[in-house]
Amino acid sequence: MTGSIAAPPLPDGLVVVVKRECATCALVEPLLPHLHGALADGESLTVFTQDDPAFPSTVPAVHDADLAVSWHHAVETVPTLIRVRDGAEVERTIGWSAADWRRITGISSLGEGLPATRPGCGSMSVDPDKVDALRARFTGSSVRSRTVAIAGGEDEHEAMFARGWTDGLPVVPPTRERVLRMLTGTVRAPSDVVAVAPPDLVELTVEKVAINAVMAGCLPEHLPWVIAALEAACTDAFNMHGVLATTMPVGPVIVCNGPGTRAVGMNSGINALGQGNRANSSIGRAVQLTIRNVGGGRPGEIDRATHGNPGKLSFCFAEDEAGSPFDPLSVARGVPAGRDAVTVFAGEGPRCVVDQLARTPEELAATYAACLRTVHHPKLIIGFDALLVVSPDHGRLFADAGWDRARLVAELNARLALPGSELIRGANGMAEGIPEGFKDLPSLPKFREGGLLVAFAGGGAGLFSTIVAGWANGNLGSDPVTREVRP
């Protein structure tokens, strides 16, 4: 992120940043007058002190009271010794290292009698209690959003509810400090446009995503996942407008893959599709809040869902790639192995498939097929996709038998095919069904080619798996979309 206030220039010569509270700074205090001997004509020794303007006592010092010098020159440790030539830093060392200080100053006898090295102390500019305020002060104008002032006597949570900013649950107040901290989670500029957000078709900036990610409870390391999921959802293929506007109970279901899922603390194990994990819950929630607040998609307005489903608060989980008998979903969808990626799927709430007696993959496939047949209606075919989430206890059967993803999907499709006469309108006493004209076709598939997605998640015991039924697919509705997560 680019600072909005230009860094104060450092004078040519030697620059030292210290604070009294640091024992290593006290150690080098007697050496500082000797540094004058290392200066060429036109160069100077400049000592910046962070805490006590009277320190060091051995040379005059400039009080870096607002820590602007320390912040802008990325001083993380004191003492820091910097060599500046022609206005540019050419070398620096941190803490006390006799070898480094002698090399940079050219004074071979500097610090004789001192230990060879001593680690420095934390710079005040990276003090956890100060860093957010400093970031806001020095880079604050890099965010452009309107400021909303909440009066001292006003409850900020009630104020946010009243403005319609929440999903019905409390949100974290998006202060400038919090938003700037969130923005440290990406290398992208706040003004970068992530996508055009439906339904209002407005340009969605990294900054607006960050604000909503703060509200959702995300950590900075979650932000790239939120951005990738929004990039995927706001495509013509995924058709977020339609997913919102439909009367069916669907929302973006986010399946996350790659080593980053563990790095940011996502859950792929026990209760992976449920509550209790901050990354899972807040990433999915941030996507929904962004669509609500930036896209303008609110229930009862553009969102016309008859029932909706609780997953529209957040529905996001990671695949258990290490335990899976299958290749990762992202890899099956074209992302190279080992990369972080999200797949968005327009799905309804999860439904449990129980089979505690199957001991062969064929038996379990028969159970899966019988349950998958009921997706939206047992007589409706091809028009809806589904996501099958296989559990560890069920997955073991496929692993032991050597069934990969392609084999499982092929076995399911074979068991799901039915003749047209079973599916036409009126058959089996049900008006719903496919048109009469398909009556004589001997075999029709339940799912279109590629319409059955398989993921692996869950943990602990349980001979159960889960089905997430999709929405109208293809050009008529939504296709699953996979995007790599980038920093």
Partner: protein, 90 residues
Amino acid sequence: MELLDPTNESRPATRPLRERPASLDGLTVGLLDISKPRGDVFLGRIAHLLEQRGARIVRYTKPTFSKPAPVDLRHEIATTCNVVIEALAD
């Protein structure tokens, strides 16, 4: 406390509704089928009834009910028709 606005900060333009025409006689009525099943049946009946009242009918179809009408289609309807009826059916 100061918060950053999480919304798109836009204020949609509000335009007053046009007066209802007193009569459809001689007006061009656009009928937009959003491609829901049997919407065409419903609009076919509407077209028949309106033509009896002297309206000129122009039929349009959205590619799919699940996405907004393309900009070009909206422009064509706006520049061709005096009145438009959009049908949702199932």
